[in-house]
């Protein structure tokens, strides 16, 4: 029997261990900062102030976190059914098309709150459509979902390139993007949320989709732990043989899980497309789909964990941007290094410290 099978109390599992991992990640990031001749303490201070110091910083942090919540949920739902969806990036990209088409066709006629539900459905449908083919190939043909979803990231990227450069571009303009949506196709900013805490949102693009993301967290929690479908997904995800014994249809569950996963990824597009820039731009996803994998992993595939992990990555994105602005020797690439270290320690090396902590716990608890 190894330490892996020892059960730790929840506060250690979900509190102490992630926190220690994070401390380690920041320690090694500090070493990197120190190695290029800057003060790690000062860098950390700038990062935190940049992300959380003012209302605008918080607005940006929450804006990034919103995208990561959507993609994190997307990855988590698939993982619960035993599927590793690496295609959230592409699904979000195509979801942007769905949202943009709704906004472009409705923004002239109706206010935003009428457009919004259609845009949510449109983004989710397009995202789900992007996941449907890999899902079908997995369900019926056994083609590995990791491979097919990666491939679909490229396919989506090329398709969107083509559409934006050739079809959706505003005639006579150089930029490969759609026209700017009118107010009826934009999601309102959440000034009131920040001012509730006495801050000012300023130029930060935090918008209504943040609230949609929180609602989705709740719905995903209900789906996974309170519905029969979620029960079937979890059974399949943990033990495919037990699922077949229980009469849980493999192909059907794979399809449903992937469609939900793709839909959630697609909804991510609401945030940058309808919330921030009010138009569909090329490569607007910007890696949020991949960050979603780390977010889901760090958040233990649980909505609450995903919110916390998304906030952490929001802080790293926003604070990192401020940091590289204030400390020119810390370039954007350095920020990526730091993000990478966080993913490494909090995600990939999740269990590195566990045996030591188990032994310590056993000694202290005197067993």
């Amino acid at each position: 029997m190894s330490t892996a099978s020892v059960q730790l109390p929840a506060w250690i599992n979900y509190g102490v261990i992630p926190l220690l991992n994070l401390v380690l990640a920041f320690f090694f990031s500090g070493l990197v900062v120190w190695a290029i001749g800057e003060s790690p303490i000062e860098a950390l201070r700038l990062l935190l102030i940049g992300a959380l110091g003012r209302g605008e910083g918080i607005g940006f942090t929450l804006f990034y976190a919103t995208s990561f919540i959507f993609t994190g949920l997307s990855v988590a739902v698939a993982i619960h059914a035993g599927l590793f969806n690496i295609g959230s990036e592409g699904q979000a990209y195509l979801g942007g098309l769905g949202a943009a088409l709704v906004a472009l066709s409705l923004d002239r006629y109706v206010p935003w709150y009428v457009t919004m539900p259609f845009a949510v459905v449109g983004a989710a449908l397009f995202g789900a459509a992007c996941a449907a083919i890999p899902a079908w190939l997995q369900a019926k043909r056994g083609s590995h979902i990791v491979i097919t979803t990666i491939m679909f990231n490229f396919i989506t990227s090329s398709l969107m390139n083509y559409l934006l450069v050739r079809v959706l571009i505003v005639p006579g303009k150089m930029a490969p993007e759609t026209r700017t949506f009118l107010e009826g196709g934009q999601l309102p900013k959440l000034d009131w949320l920040i001012s509730m805490f006495g801050g000012k949102l300023g130029a930060a693009p935090l918008n209504f989709s943040f609230l949609i993301a929180l609602v989705m967290c709740f719905l995903v929690w209900v789906l996974i732990w309170r519905t029969k479908l979620g029960y079937e997904m979890r059974t399949l995800g943990i033990s495919p043989t037990a699922a077949s014994y229980a009469g849980i249809p493999y192909a059907k569950i794979v399809m449903i899980a992937m469609l939900i996963s793709g839909g959630l990824a697609g909804m991510m597009a609401l945030n940058p497309v309808m919330g921030a820039s009010a138009r569909l731009q090329i490569e607007f996803v910007g890696g949020a789909g991949f960050v979603g994998i780390a977010v889901s992993l760090m958040g233990r595939n649980h909505p609450v964990g995903i919110i916390l992990a998304a906030l952490l990555f929001g802080i790293l994105y926003q604070g990192g941007a401020e940091l590289s602005f204030d400390m020119p020797s810390i370039t954007r690439d350095m920020i990526v290094v730091i993000q990478g270290l966080v993913i490494l320690f909090a995600g990939a090396l999740e269990y590195m410290l566990r045996p030591a902590i188990v032994r310590l716990y056993q000694q202290i608890s005197g067993k």
Binding site: M1, Q7, K228, Y231, T235, I238, S239, A242, A246, G247
Partner: protein, 509 residues
Amino acid sequence: MSLDLPKEIEPAIELVGIDKKFGAVHANKNINLTVAKGSIHGIIGENGAGKSTLMSILYGFYHADHGEIRISGKPISIRDSQAAIAAGIGMVHQHFMLVENFTVLENVMLGAEGGQLLRKGVASARKELKHLEDDYGLEVDPDAVVEELPVGSQQRVEILKALYRGAEILILDEPTGVLTPAEADHLFKVLRVLRDQGKTIILITHKLREIMAITDTVSVMRRGEMVATRKTSETTVEELAELMVGRRVLLHVEKGDANPGRVLLSVRNLSVKDARGVTMVDNVSFDVRAGEIVGIAGVAGNGQSELLEAIAGIRKPASGEIFIDGNPVAGIDPAGLRDLGLAHIPEDRHHMGLVLKFEEYENSILGYHRDQRYGRGAMLDLDAMRKDAEEKIAKYDIRPPNPRLKTANFSGGNQQKIVVAREIERDPNVLIIGQPTRGVDIGAIEFIHKRIIDMRDAGKAVLLVSVELDEIRSLSDRILVMFAGKVVGEKTGDAGEQTLGLMMAGIAA
């Protein structure tokens, strides 16, 4: 509690005060054990009694917290399995550690090739292997590929491997679990030869009959303690069983006469293929009536698993028909079959019957989770699930009685009770069961057997598959023997072991 050995017999192994804890679990409590050189020493105990831990300490997988190991009188420290091999200890695992697509010779050499280039090592290994085979009657073709050998021969390769490394002490962990009675007899012959040539053998098993048949001395473990050591000739099966469980055990299942009614399960000309297209079940037909238990005997791998899975709807039959209460059901999925009154206790509770990472109450609805009693419409009603689980826990004495505990943390016997409770409490008309007591301790075996008999007496049709011939014989009203995918014969429940053994080996019909 060591045995008083005559002075002239030297001990091969002495364990003195071995103590091992895993967290809160005290797996070995101050174990003292002396095994005489040139003897066969049995170690028995229920699951979780600490046998495997003790042997793992002896073989260097774990380190004892306290205590000393002496080999031939000298205290040594066994840090890892390399050190164990160097000390002359060889282990034959329950699941063979062989490279299946290597030849016998290559497997025997593995890890002891002798130098960077193979050729010289191969020649000397071949000579050495020939020696061993001649000395101990362990005939195996050195150039045969292991995966093409029958299980009994593969086990011989494992033994040869240990001997090739100079083992003086052989530990065998549940060696007969996968063997036919004839193969087991052959193994025992080999073990006797090894003993007579001066090797020391430790046999770990839960089969009391084997202990009686082959060992010289036997030690009983219970809850981490060594509770008794006896000369085999001076003890009885009843005494050993009582020592193992700590109370008197009914070894024989008590059941009245069967009262068969109408046919509830009927299988006609059923053939099933596995994923590679190999026919595993070959044109099998039989009936199971209400109020009778039909046992299917056979050595593992002769199609019983596939037969069960086909009837349960998990595996699609290649041809043939299955009827439940007269209705054709081949092709209906497991969920549909449950609605028709079929319940299935699968062979492999770890991979099929349970989701080990689930909490207990989640597993107690597996397969029936769509039922409205566990929640209306698409939702799950956790309170209803837990209440239902608590009722089953109370009725089946599942321990610990905590529906929120992760299923993996229950013992094997209690895990099996979770499955048995779930399937039997649905009051099915047809119950199909695979290996109901594999890895289950004696106390729980008694309980599960009683439940199965109760089902029969309540007028249900029960189909039982087990590789434990004793279990088949004590429970079944009729016995079908499967060999190579075919039903090769039918006997009444009181058929002799020898007759069945020969049929299982495909020799007699």
